[in-house]
Amino acid sequence: MNYPSARWVIVLATLFLASCGFSDHGFLAPAGPIAEAQRNHFLSITAWTLVVIVPLFVATPIVLWKYRFGKKDSTYRPNWTFSWILEGLIWGLPLIIVGVLGWNVWKVSHQLDPYTPIASDKPTLRIQVVGLDWKWLFIYPDQKIASVNQLVFPADRPVRFELTSETVMQAFMIPRLGSQIYAMPGMITQLNLLASEPGSYRGQNTQYNGKAFAKQKFTAKAVSEFTFEDWVNQQKSNPPLDISAYNKLARRSVLSEPVFFGNITPGLFQRIIERVKSTPAVELPGAVKQTSEGGS
């Protein structure tokens, strides 16, 4: 929060929003510092902009009442067309506010840049994300494990995502943690997030990518450091993820349950990107074996 004077607005607004059922959805119910900063920024922007538009809400009914056709005793000056004072006010006030907001946007955009690592005394966890049709693959390169549609990571420790897509453009988002970023075929984007407390949050693709788009959800589980270690060790015994297992996984499908892999082929993420860039996708990968059909 950048404007102490507007702090009370935020407190009131938060209470109001909580009562409307926003308390466990979206970035207005932040579960991490990014989402929290975004919420605060959202509320302060709203408050500042209201300075311009509230006068209009107040003035319009008054003007309509005062100058209604039937009220013949109001001033009627059909040739009145200009006033320097008013003109200065209606240009000046928005300009000042946009100036203030612009300065603020510059600052906050840099603070909340998804590529900027989150400062913490704990080491950052690296996760590589591959958007598939219609599921998410999470590769833990340092732990050498992978999971599909379930993201497990330690709370209170920065997570750095590197994202790409096997198919079309997708967008990776865990609403309660904040920022989203596109995952694009043949390219890598980055996202830094942090969950303050352990908890289970919904993650999703936000970019339409075909018939089962609405079902491309996953669970993001923030757990304690200890539980995370435990979970990683449990996954080691799962089947390995090599290129042929990956090809099978990459077929268009919707998974009803999360899938886990033990030993991943090193450099798989990079290989996926290189392959997408060099192979023209003439045929769709599969669409034959589907665990559950996306719709009709």
Binding site: S74, I90, P94, V168, Y208
Partner: protein
């Protein structure tokens, strides 16, 4: 998905599966039933029109008076009719989408996901390219030449061809409802989803050609309007005496000239990818979809201002006319309009803050976006101040304008919010965004176009629209809008994503139910407009305005009969003031016969435009279904038509001065017989189009 083609040489990829009702007969369920209903409605509508034309024997009139006409007013009216037909379809589609989302909370809902994908794609494509654009181009065609004192636009045939291309695109979209399926790639058609590898069907091709045809038509329209305004203003109509609607028409035209091309380029490049194996936006071999997003939004953002600026112009005219007062802050409004037109090209990147650009770039575009809020805010306050010290008459047009003013600023607020990259990262692609742009486009563009329709309808047809039904539709649309879209803001903040055919969160349900009720109310508003048109035509003898000035208008378009003669002005007027017609009325020159009349040259009707419409529609259809012989034949035929036309020498006809004199004097006599109506009786049958002059 695609069956065996009938005969690839003659019929391309057309197969039994692309025929209407096949799907429903094979597998009758709620999804295919909705599809069958839509197909039946489209076929029924087309057949019904033909039967009506035949029964009433109007084919000849339809052809000679309308389709082949080069009169900008008639072309404008055809544009508006096209827009309204498409509006009807797209609103009904919106109703189905709202129903689906409401019924799909933790269950599949009545529609299949692909069907839902087609619905949001056609809804968006139609609303932008075949509703908003034709509507505003139609209004400009009718009003702008009259307002600047011109007899027609500069290039009448080009005008008709623009309409032909837009109509051909619309025909293609309508055909896609009946034959085959439409794209599911949304109105923005992002690759690689729309590339052959992921969407091999004909749907994306329908989208490409429909949009390409209309975008070429719109470029030509922009050129035509801009040249008209630059070159054909009446003597004395200096830049700063030009009515604000014409100013916005000029700015919109300039944006069209520059902004339609990126769209044409983007869709044609996508077509090359799909048809010829190029690699512009593919995943592999050096294609890059980011080039598409840049091209598309280089068009897409200016497009927002293409559709909103003319509405701003309409509101400026409405606030001034119905407050009985000169426009407040005219220069301010002009500069604001131009500022918006320039800034509209500097903000496109805010449509993809989440693509991983640097924070510097995102912040710069965020600030540029917020800057647009300044001239827009200025406009809103200038309109408010126009009412101050006026005498405000709450007619339907004024109601829509006031509702626009207060509702639009909410959209402006959320626009400023979305301009902040940090917030956009949280609500991009969500229903918050959907709510925002509907909040701009419905009160902005659509209410503006409705206001224009109510204000200028009497000028177009010579009688007023029913005020009662207008008010009913106004309240339905207004409440409907708030009910339908305010919940979407909430849903977006709760993480609900756009284009979802299904939900997994029961807490969304109450909001979705409210939004559905809003959609029903909007449908009721649309229905009451249909009723209004019917009632108004039925009662037209009580609402005629032969004087041509039903609203105590201020600019030149009110200075002639309603409907105006083909040549608009018996004699091109001399302009003395910004409110040219008010000046005439004050100085007693409004209904006086000039000293002498001159012969007037007007363009003859031409069959070129309807021929080009049919040929380009055939071309689009042939390309969509890979019917190559038809593609080549229709492409050659289009250019052969153009070349053949260039050999026509007698393209103009002369209306002799004597005829002009007779018509004008007859009208002047009829005006003398009218009783001036005081503004209290504006909406009663006492209003015969002659305003009481209060000096």
């Amino acid at each position: 998905m695609t069956g065996q083609p009938f005969d690839y040489f003659w019929l391309g990829k057309l197969s039994i599966d692309s025929l209407p009702f096949v799907e429903f007969i094979r597998d009758p369920n709620s999804n295919t039933a909705v599809g069958a209903f839509a197909k039946a409605a489209a076929i029924g509508g087309a057949m019904g029109l033909m039967v009506l034309l035949t029964v009433f024997g109007k084919w000849r009139v339809f052809w000679h008076e309308w389709l082949t006409s080069l009169d900008a007013k008639k072309i404008g009216i055809m544009y508006i009719v096209l827009a309204m037909v498409m509006l009807l379809r797209a609103v009904i589609e919106a109703g189905f989408m709202r129903a689906q989302q409401m019924l799909a909370v933790e269950q599949p809902g009545p529609l299949a996901p692909e069907h839902f994908g087609e619905l949001f794609s056609t809804h968006g494509t139609i609303m932008i390219f075949f509703m908003a654009m034709p509507f505003l181009i139609g209004i400009i065609n009718v009003v702008m030449p009259l307002q600047i004192g011109a007899r027609d636009v500069k290039f009448p045939l080009l005008n008709a061809i623009s309409l032909a291309l837009t109509a051909a695109g619309a025909v293609l979209i309508m055909i896609s409802l009946v034959i085959g399926k439409f794209s599911t790639g949304g109105w923005s058609g992002y690759p690689p989803f729309t590339e052959l590898a992921f969407n091999p069907g004909a749907g994306v091709d329908y989208w490409i050609w429909a949009v390409t045809l209309s975008s070429i038509g719109n470029t030509l329209t922009g050129i035509n309007f801009a040249v008209t305004i630059y070159k054909l203003r009446a003597p004395g109509m200096t830049w700063f005496r030009m009515p604000l609607f014409s100013w916005t028409a000029l700015c919109t035209s300039i944006i069209m000239i520059f902004a339609m091309m990126p769209l044409t380029v983007a869709t044609l490049m996508l077509a090359l990818d799909r048809y010829a194996g190029f690699h512009f936006f593919t995943n592999a071999l050096g294609g890059n979809m980011m080039n598409y997003t840049n091209l598309f939004w280089l068009f897409g953002h200016p497009e927002v201002y293409i559709v909103i600026l003319p509405a701003f112009g309409v509101f400026s005219e409405v606030f001034s006319t119905f407050s009985g007062k000169r426009l407040y802050g005219y220069h301010s409004l002009v500069f604001a309009t131009m500022a918006i037109a320039v800034l509209s090209f500097c903000v496109w990147l805010h449509h993809f803050f989440t693509m991983g650009e640097t924070a510097d770039l995102n912040a710069a575009f965020g600030i540029a976006t917020m800057l647009i809020g300044v001239p827009t805010g200025v406009k809103v306050y200038d309109w408010l101040l126009t009412m101050v010290r006026g005498r405000v008459r709450l007619t339907t047009a004024m109601l829509f304008s006031i509702m626009f003013m207060v509702t639009f600023v909410i959209g402006g607020l959320t626009g400023v919010i979305l301009a902040n990259p940090p917030v956009d990262f949280a609500v991009h692609n969500s229903l918050f965004l959907v709510a925002h742009f509907h909040n701009m486009l419905i009160p902005g563009t659509l209410f503006g176009m409705f206001a224009a329709y109510y204000v200028w309808f009497p000028k177009m047809f010579g009688f007023r629209l029913s005020e009662k039904w207008g008010r009913i539709s106004f309240w339905c649309w207004s409440f409907g809008f708030y009910l339908a879209f305010m919940p979407l803001y909430a849903l977006g903040l709760m993480g609900a994503m756009r284009r979802s055919a299904q939900w997994f969160d029961p807490q969304y349900l109450p909001w979705l139910v409210v939004a559905f009720c809003g959609a029903l109310l909007i449908l009721a508003g649309l229905a009451s407009q249909v009723v209004q048109l019917w009632v108004s035509i039925r009662d037209r003898d009580t609402t005629r305005v032969p004087g041509g000035d039903p609203w105590d208008g201020r600019s030149l378009e009110w200075s002639m009969s309603a409907p105006p003669p083909e040549y608009n002005f018996a004699v091109i007027p001399q302009v003395h003031d910004r409110d040219a017609f008010t000046w005439m009325k004050k100085n007693g020159t409004s209904y006086t016969a000039p000293e002498h009349y001159e012969d007037i040259k007007m363009p003859k009707n031409s069959i070129v435009a309807p021929v080009i419409c049919a040929l380009t529609a055939a071309l689009g259809f042939a390309l969509t279904w890979h019917i190559w012989w038809l593609t080549i034949a229709s492409f050659i035929a289009v250019w052969a038509t153009v070349i053949a036309r260039s050999f026509c020498q007698n393209t103009e006809e002369t209306i002799p001065a004597s005829q002009v004199r007779e018509e004008h004097e007859r009208w002047l006599r009829s005006v003398k017989a009218l009783k001036p109506a005081p503004r209290e009786h504006e909406t009663t049958s006492a209003n015969q189009g002659l305003a009481e002059v209060v000096v």
